[in-house]
Symmetry: C2
Subunit: 291 residues, 2 copies
Amino acid sequence: MFEQLGLIGCGLIGGSFALALKRAGLVKRVVGYSKSPSTTERAKQLGVIDIDVPSALQAVSGSDLVLIAVPVAATEATLKAIRHLVTDTMLVMDVGSTKSDVVNAARRALGDKFGSFVPAHPIAGKEVAGVQHAEADLFKGKQVILTPVEHTQTAQLQQAIEVWEQVGSHITQMSPEAHDAAFAAVSHLPHMIAFAMMNAINSQEQGKDYLSMAGPGFRDFTRIAASDPHVWRDVLLANRDELLAQSKNFQRHLQTLELMLSNANGEALEGLIRQASQSRSAWTMNKKSRQ
Amino acid sequence: MFEQLGLIGCGLIGGSFALALKRAGLVKRVVGYSKSPSTTERAKQLGVIDIDVPSALQAVSGSDLVLIAVPVAATEATLKAIRHLVTDTMLVMDVGSTKSDVVNAARRALGDKFGSFVPAHPIAGKEVAGVQHAEADLFKGKQVILTPVEHTQTAQLQQAIEVWEQVGSHITQMSPEAHDAAFAAVSHLPHMIAFAMMNAINSQEQGKDYLSMAGPGFRDFTRIAASDPHVWRDVLLANRDELLAQSKNFQRHLQTLELMLSNANGEALEGLIRQASQSRSAWTMNKKSRQ
């Protein structure tokens, strides 16, 4: 049980975390701050936060739990702004989709308070942004990846595990580097492809007509293309090297299919499709291959 | 109202069509044939068809409506096999995902009976195949594209429109060529990309670990990768030229994003993501830009 959650960034993820903690009875009071005053005000009107404050520092003041839920590129400036109020017993977490850059930013910004910071990535989201879409159930049944490093204090790590478990999440721990390699493959590249797909269709004279005929397969395939541009610009840039490597590997496999197609090699083409189809059919979300 | 539906191919789509027609009271009797006798038997056990027969020709005998629901590459052989029982007043339709090749195959196979054939493509499906997944609601609220050509008889075209409308579908008419260009962009390429994505991840040593961390975005993005390998081999091959052109165009747009990323050009990157995001947010399924 925490006395006070200091929420920095009252968007979809931050707002959902506040709601989840409140419903689980894990926090007495939520003090929130967002860069845009209208967002903070809206979060208060919606009952997502109890008290709205005009600075990140004021959200940290008196808090024993701090969640930083801002675009990843804003993490370092945020941590610098709150640094002198971070204590040895406070739990500070982020929710960013990339982890190496966030850990490096936290190390630089927090200095000797870095041990209070537990890097976290809840694998949950929606294609719509904003506190109005926040919901207490967002993390239920979802994975949360924690990427503690050698200076992370075990007390805070244990608290982080408990708080995420109590809102219904499954915890996986790994290094920031392993996290970023995995998410370049299974999240960042799919987003980049979905963005490119929409742009590729819109670049064509008949693109609008084409879109009017698209069905459920297209709907699901491109859902993530509607993601927040600012958030995803930051994510793609923060994980650039891994993402570019994954993109090259993907294009090699796409070009292999193109070659089978050009050669009208139906047998080889069907073999490659079968591998993909069997692998996808066997996959289920949250089935861990290791702990 | 039809006396008898001759169903050739008792899979997901064919089976769902039979169930939809039965529930709408549009047909008295369904006679079914599948290449695999066990499929035909199963369709009968499940009540999808009333009578099972051991040949396509026998399914056509006595039918005033014939649906050919086989992989597109099998369409021509199927039409040849039934040709001498096709009459001037019979309505014969297919359900293939490509239309130029099907129209050409029908022209060759049916000769002077070609006018009875109405090429149809219901934009409905599931990532699971087989008659056990058939459902009467599959076409409800979905689009069906009809691609009649100059020799298609208006009587059959009108009947086709009515039968699809009565099972709840929205009808769009266009040329086979326009259909294939559009579906290369919004369906065939997304499938090929989803296949390539699964293969690209599986090609990596840690692919299994990566997959274990994937979340809801990945789940939806790759859903179509689980599609039937034989069906999709045929579709991709049948629409090869349009598909390769769409794939090249897509890769140009992907490489533009890669370039912005390599140059750490955040502003341009965000601009491109914003275009994609706004376009996808504004899109809704079955919103026609023209009739």
